[in-house]
């Protein structure tokens, strides 16, 4: 398969994730859609790494996975804190950082 196929697939996954981030209200689903966008970036990185025949892109993708895990942990911590404080689980209601 040509590298272009992988890149086009990653473009579509990124667009789906962006649509979810914009249009969904549940913060859990917004985090999942952020994962989709990061994964699309990962796919493009691995495809370019294959294109160049160098593994540096795969190391980049590994670091992106670490960043995604950190983002998930902090985001889920914020959601649990929202739930504990009896705040609505709705990102449109969350417009200030003050707990």
């Amino acid at each position: 398969m040509d590298i272009t196929w992988y890149l086009v697939l990653s473009a579509f996954i990124f667009a789906i994730g962006a649509a979810g981030v914009i249009s969904r209200r549940n913060p859990l689903v917004v985090l999942l859609c952020l994962e989709l966008m990061l994964n699309a970036g990962n796919l493009a990185l691995v495809a370019f790494s294959r294109m160049h025949g160098s593994e540096a892109g795969q190391v980049f993708a590994l670091i992106v996975m670490v960043i995604a895990a950190c983002e998930v942990v902090v985001g889920l911590g914020i959601i649990v804190a929202m739930y504990r404080n009896r705040l609505p689980i709705d990102i449109d209601e969350m417009s200030e950082l003050r707990g």
Binding site: D2, I3, C33, R50
Partner: protein, 202 residues
């Protein structure tokens, strides 16, 4: 190669379907399960691109560990079947429009790009006999401990910071409990507590 093309389309359709399921399903629980399917499809694509270590890490770390974390939180919050308000109107209307614009733009950029190598199967990755093969754990590990040592250590430090931050964010704070725990005499919230009753709750 015939088999490779079939595998690409099966995994690609799986990844795209999983992504659509994440966005379109109403129940967050099913969204998480759909994302697991998406990640498995993506792992197959990584294997097709000769990224064996990354595919294994994707399945073990992402689909295995991170998704379990999501499932715990969804079960804790209680995945609501119906949204609090109908998800329409406002900026949400422009979501699909924006996504379509991004997809078209990126496809134009990729297909009309002048990069000759995009229309090939990739560079020649055959290695000498004694060296590690492309994308195996040995090759990636050697890169991580030689060329990319600083990003590797920074990533491990970032993970530590994120873990501590999550504990701080999600712990139970004094004065914010939803139900009074102690059954002793009630006192006004403004009054500072007596020193001997101060206790650390985690």
């Amino acid at each position: 190669m015939w088999f490779e093309q079939v595998l690409f389309f099966v995994a690609g359709i799986g990844a795209l379907g999983g992504a659509l399921g994440v966005v379109l399903l109403q129940n967050p629980f099913y969204s998480v399960l759909s994302l697991v399917g998406h990640l498995l499809g993506l792992a197959v694509l990584f294997l097709l691109l000769n990224a064996e270590f990354l595919a294994a890490a994707q399945v073990v770390v992402y689909a295995g560990a991170v998704m379990v974390l999501y499932l715990f939180v969804v079960a804790y919050i209680g995945g609501a079947d119906v949204p609090l308000r109908p998800e329409s109107g406002g900026v949400a209307m422009f979501g699909p429009l924006f996504a379509g614009a991004i997809a078209v733009e990126l496809c134009i950029a990729f297909i009309a790009s002048g990069l000759q190598a995009l229309d090939t199967q990739g560079a020649d990755i055959a290695r000498p006999e004694n060296a590690d093969q492309f994308g195996t754990p040995g090759a990636i590990g050697e890169l991580l401990l030689t060329d990319f040592l600083l990003p590797f250590e920074a990533a491990s430090f970032l993970l530590l910071v994120a873990a501590v931050g999550a504990v701080v964010l999600a712990r139970r704070r004094r004065g914010l409990e939803d139900a009074p725990v102690s059954t002793g005499p009630t006192r006004p919230r403004d009054e500072p507590p007596p020193a001997e009753t101060l206790e650390v709750r985690v």
